[in-house]
């Protein structure tokens, strides 16, 4: 079942690449069909998922390279399932969003997109470290092409920066993975969770993994690839980047650093907190200064992901669940915001905030939807952003009061730049002819936002089912994260 969800898009991509003539219409419908089918299968996963256990479910195992304990091993738990679902949901939306804005090399675009979906779902399902790494890296290829071929003016630079930043981080992770594999005698992730590593080794391994995850999250100061990649990527590329790729880094912390290297993770909590706080405050300030809509949202992403990392390293149920929920929230909200930017970019071919103004008069439906997502991003009660940030702050408060206070200022700054942007873009008088000529959204465009809006409000008003899904797994993760693997004497010695 997991293999089906993972490889269905890839198989579809191959079919389109080899069997379909370059007929944009047919390619679009095929890609849409395949991604919807994938989403349906992922819903079946949700249906069959047992909330009450923390164990990995839908396990699949096949011998792959048995000589060194490398196995094809897939499975999901309450931590990874939300991301599988999110990926499966966002991909059809992205394909729909690219329906008209992508006119060149449609076939290649759809193939790359479906391949990307496959690899990303694979990242969240893989339970073998080498398999995980393969998906993790393979994902770079389609994303590199998506940014580089269908991106904006400065796309080549952005594509390079994205690829090389990520690769440089990842290769160090590979070495850490190999060391772990040889010390532990297996690359199986569940087995490694119970493996006692000495403290000094854990510290090095943590740094190896950190180099990769921190780039992906992205944490300050290795976040600089993100604004470039976001600005240059096509709309759907930005949505996937913000919605899913950024989550991969945080997911890495959850899946590997916390349970496998608990002692080192605890050791590095102040370090992570410090970087996260800088990210929250500094990038929020940077976002205040942005003239480009996409750049503003990109910096806000870094700021929001700072919240997530604080939540994950708060070491309590509230912080962790808030962090995971906020990852989903951010995927939905930032995805929605990028789509909204895409809608006006398709019409006006600019993203400069100063060029807009008075959009609300011309595009009332657009304005309402924009408002909901802005409020969710700010964290207004009743939207999903509130639940996530509230839980994180609660968790942070329990862990370290000072951190919670500083992080909270990020919320204020977030409200400042988002509302400022909202006012500039949507309110005021219509000052230029281009805006005056704007038409409101088409049915296709409205359809993009419906599922996202439902999620925003659903999680905002009734988050219980979502929290319940991850509850058992988070509890177990906390137990793992709080165990002392290395003797306390070893830690004291270090």
């Amino acid at each position: 079942m997991l293999s089906l969800v993972t490889f269905l898009p890839l198989v579809g991509a191959l079919v389109i690449f080899f069997a379909v003539k370059d007929n944009p219409k047919l390619v679009r419908y095929l890609a849409m069909g395949i991604s919807l089918l994938t989403f349906l299968v992922s819903l079946l996963l949700l249906k069959g998922f047992d909330n009450s256990t923390a164990a990995f479910q839908f396990m699949e195992e096949a011998a792959w390279l048995p000589a060194y304990g490398i196995t094809y091993r897939m499975g999901v738990d309450g931590i990874s399932l939300p991301f599988v679902l999110l990926t499966a949901l966002l991909t059809p939306i992205c394909i729909l969003a690219s329906w008209e804005s992508i006119q060149t090399q449609v076939k290649g675009y759809m193939v790359a997109f479906l391949a990307l979906e496959s690899f990303v779902i694979g990242v969240f399902c893989a339970l073998d470290f080498i398999l995980f790494y393969i998906f993790w890296e393979a994902m770079l290829i389609p994303m590199f092409l998506l940014i580089g071929i269908w991106g904006g003016k400065n796309r080549v630079y952005a594509a390079y920066k994205f690829f090389l930043y990520t690769l440089a981080g990842s290769v160090l992770m590979l070495v850490a993975i190999l060391v772990m594999g040889f010390k532990g005698g297996t690359f199986s992730i569940p087995a490694l969770m119970g493996m006692p590593f000495s403290f000094a080794l854990q510290v090095w391994l943590f740094l190896g993994l950190f180099s990769s995850f921190a780039v992906k999250v992205p944490m300050w100061p290795v976040h600089t690839w993100l604004p470039d990649a976001h600005v240059e990527a096509p709309t759907a590329g930005s949505v996937i980047l913000a919605g899913i790729l950024l989550k991969m880094g945080a997911y890495g912390f959850l899946r590997f650093s916390l349970p496998i290297l608990p002692d080192a993770s605890r050791y590095f909590v102040p370090f992570i907190f410090a970087l996260s706080l800088v990210a929250i405050v500094y990038t929020a300030l940077v976002a205040l200064m942005q003239k480009d809509l996409k750049k503003l949202i990109a910096y806000s992403s870094v700021s929001h992901m700072g919240f997530v990392t604080i939540g994950l390293f708060a070491y309590n149920q509230q912080g962790l669940e808030g962090g995971i929920l906020q990852m989903v929230n951010h995927g939905v909200v930032a995805g929605g915001l990028f789509l909204l930017v895409g809608v006006i970019y398709d019409r006006m071919h600019t993203r400069e905030i100063a060029r807009f103004g008075g959009l609300a008069q011309r595009m009332p439906v657009y304005a309402v939807i924009f408002m909901v997502f802005t409020m969710a991003s700010v964290g207004l009660p009743g939207t999903n952003g509130f639940i996530g940030e509230f839980l994180i702050l609660l968790g942070a408060y329990l862990a370290n009061k000072g951190v919670a206070v500083v992080a909270a200022t990020g919320l204020v700054l977030g409200a400042a730049y988002m509302l400022w942007m909202f006012k500039k873009v949507l309110f005021g008088v219509v000052r230029n002819d281009e805006v005056a000529a704007l038409k409101d959204m088409s049915m296709r465009e409205i359809a993009l936002f419906v599922p996202l809006l439902i999620l925003v409000l659903w999680i905002g008003f009734y988050p219980a089912p979502f929290l319940k899904m991850m509850h058992a797994s988070v509890e177990q993760l906390l137990i793992q994260a709080n165990t002392i693997k290395a003797g306390s004497a070893a830690i004291a010695m270090f």
Partner: protein, 482 residues
């Protein structure tokens, strides 16, 4: 006193004997027939290689053994590497038929020299002593020098041949000097004899160490490991592209096998001495390979630096001293073979339309020829070591071996250079995919191009996803070494 002849099991030499006959036949044919029979000569050469492969396959049932008084070894490693050598000779011939015909280079001697180079390389991988090693190396090298200079109306080609010859002869001289020192210290040229003498000696004499170091240096020259890589970019660039493809792979396969034999069989007891030397060389080689390629605008020069980078990885696998490392070298060589030939085949296909070796000329290939661009991108990503392609598994196993041997520093350095190296592979992808098309790219692919590209592309993909069989094969071929 009767002269005692060593036992001679010529059956074990049958592939080499067969190829020698083919080479002589070709020489006679090309002397007696005119221009019109040129296509036929190419076909005969290919059939000769296929026949040699059949004979080699027939040999596989014979138990591995040593003949000619220890000078000729026919073990699993030799057989495995002979397979690679046959492919490494057949593929360039297949993909360069039009190229040679277009330039009027397809005279009989070209094929004769290719086959003699192959025989030399096969002798090298079967060498049981420094004598056979030297003979094979010289036969291979001399043939290749001439091939590099084969396009004699083209000045860079002559220059390449001359440069290769002068530096190659220097390396041969170094090898001979090293061998003579080793002989002086141990009293034997046969690898096993040398090994026994080293084991029996109470202390390791400096003469032996100097000799061993010189031998290692000479072989390093053949694989273009830094700092003995200087010839590679110029020769790669100047030689006819068909020859470049040939010398990019075949001599490396042979020389790495020689590394196995010399380092593990003869100097196995000296590992503490040669391992640090090779590790240092590996680091320098990786640095030269990945940094040197960045500024290149000629695809052949770029591939030269890229091959230097790959040699760096191969050297790491070699120095780990564990079976995993040796296995990874064989696996790496095999994947390197297919990646390189795939890339060179694309270069040759584009050459047909008069598109030169400048990378900039490839701009926009993806828009006109999506499939050709796709396979080229695949080879580039594979060389960069991005999963799920074969190049990744190859690097993964080298790294695993390094980690297993505790060479963590080396592993970290190598992955950092791999990341830097990714930059220039990406540049090719960028030019192919992201830039507007300036050429029409209307050339047709001949059947042999399709075969080479198809086989290489499929193997690069399949070996990346299901590497198990080839890994087993690699392991089996190095198992007898330890």
């Amino acid at each position: 006193m009767a002269v005692q002849l060593p036992e001679m099991n010529l059956v074990l030499l049958s592939p080499e004997i067969l190829l020698s006959l083919v080479a002589m036949g070709l020489l006679l044919m090309s002397a007696w027939t005119g221009k019109e029979s040129r296509g036929v000569i190419g076909m005969i050469t290919l059939s000769g290689i296929v026949l040699a492969a059949v004979v080699l396959a027939g040999l596989s049932s014979a138990t591995p053994s040593i003949t000619l008084g220890g000078h000729f070894v026919d073990d699993r490693l030799a057989r495995a590497m002979k397979w690679l050598l046959l492919i490494a000779t057949a593929f360039p011939l297949l993909m360069s038929r039009d190229y040679l015909a277009q330039r009027g280079l397809d005279s009989g001697e070209y094929y004769v020299l290719t086959v003699t180079a192959l025989i030399g390389a096969m002798a090298m991988v079967s060498a049981g002593s420094f004598l056979v090693l030297y003979l094979g190396l010289e036969l291979m090298s001399l043939s290749i020098y001439v091939l590099a200079a084969y396009d004699r109306d083209h000045l860079p080609s002559s220059e390449a041949g001359l440069k290769y010859f002068i530096l190659g002869s220097l390396a041969s001289g170094i090898l001979l000097y090293g061998v003579s020192l080793v002989y002086g210290a141990t009293g034997s040229t046969v690898f096993t004899g040398v090994a026994q003498a080293i084991k029996a000696a109470e202390h390791i004499s400096p003469v032996l160490l100097l000799g061993a170091a010189l031998v290692v240096m000479a072989i390093s020259f053949k694989v273009a490991a830094a700092p003995f890589h200087m010839w590679a970019p110029d020769v790669y660039e100047g030689a006819p592209t068909s020859v470049t493809a040939f010398i990019a792979v075949m001599p490396k396969v042979a020389a790495f096998t020689v590394f196995f034999r010399v380092l593990l069989e003869a100097f196995g007891a000296l590992q503490g001495h040669w391992a640090p030397m090779l590790q240092l060389m590996a680091v320098v080689t990786l640095a030269v390979g990945s940094l040197g390629a960045i500024a290149q605008s000629n695809i052949k020069r770029l591939l030269a630096y890229s091959s230097i980078g790959h040699v760096g990885f191969l050297l790491i696998g070699l120095t780990t001293g564990n079976q995993l490392g040796h296995q990874s070298v064989i696996f790496y060589l095999t994947t390197y073979l297919f990646m390189s030939f795939g890339a060179f085949c694309v270069v040759l296909v584009l050459n047909r339309q008069g598109i030169g070796d400048q990378i900039g000329d490839y701009a926009g290939l993806a828009k006109k020829r999506p499939l050709l661009a796709f396979v080229m991108a695949m080879f580039m990503f594979s060389m960069a070591g991005i999963p799920p392609l074969a190049g990744f598994i190859a690097k993964l196993y080298v790294l695993m071996a390094a980690v297993k041997a505790g060479l963590l520093g080396l592993a970290v350095i190598s992955v950092i250079f791999a990341a830097i190296g990714a930059f220039y592979y990406l540049r090719i992808v960028k030019i192919i995919y992201f830039e507007a098309a300036e050429q029409s790219f209307s050339m047709e692919l001949s059947v042999s191009h399709r075969i080479v590209l198809g086989v290489s592309a499929i193997l690069v993909l399949v070996l990346g996803i299901f590497p198990g069989k080839l890994l087993d094969w690699s392991l089996a071929s190095v198992q007898a070494l330890l």
